[in-house]
Symmetry: C2
Subunit: 114 residues, 2 copies
Amino acid sequence: MINIYDDINRLEATFRNTNEFKLLQETVEAVRGDEEAKNLFTSFRDIQVKLQQKQMAGEELLEDELAYAQKAAQLAQQNVKILAMLEAEMGLSRVIEEVNRILTKPVQALYDGL
Amino acid sequence: MINIYDDINRLEATFRNTNEFKLLQETVEAVRGDEEAKNLFTSFRDIQVKLQQKQMAGEELLEDELAYAQKAAQLAQQNVKILAMLEAEMGLSRVIEEVNRILTKPVQALYDGL
Ligand SMILES: [Ca+2]
Ligand SMILES: [Ca+2]
């Protein structure tokens, strides 16, 4: 794992220069700069984080909590700036998935016919 | 996403040359070449795949099925060749996780203070 860092870091630099990364950067800045969008997004995210923590702790989620989280998600996605940011997130996720797909392929091939 | 493939492919070539990848390759070959290890591993994996498919289909897993899967996992891990392969898998997973950690870091940084 010594010289692989050269390649990972080179990839990371190129990654930060992709249109996908730059688009996410721009859309996050647009949300950050709009008080309304920022508040909608942060409350949506805070609710999500709390529910995930409860779920990971093995606690049951109440119907009311789920409905509230769904409402917050709906409200957030009705905001054009947040929607653009979420779409940019998905675009960038696809780049990361592509990296994983290409790295995982030779690993899976090792098991071929086993 | 045009020139990032150069970097991904370069990384993938280095990845295939890591000690972690070569160790997995060797340990998989050792399992493949040992009828007993191969049978233990493939039945363990087949049981796992079936349970995962049931789970993804939303079907409840029976206690007996879980006990059977656990038993198969225990048996498999008692085999030194399979154990070596599973440990090599974990070592290689850590390399892939490291790639993801380094790529994800600048993405998370975009949200700092939001
Ligand atoms: Ca607005
Ligand atoms: Ca044996």
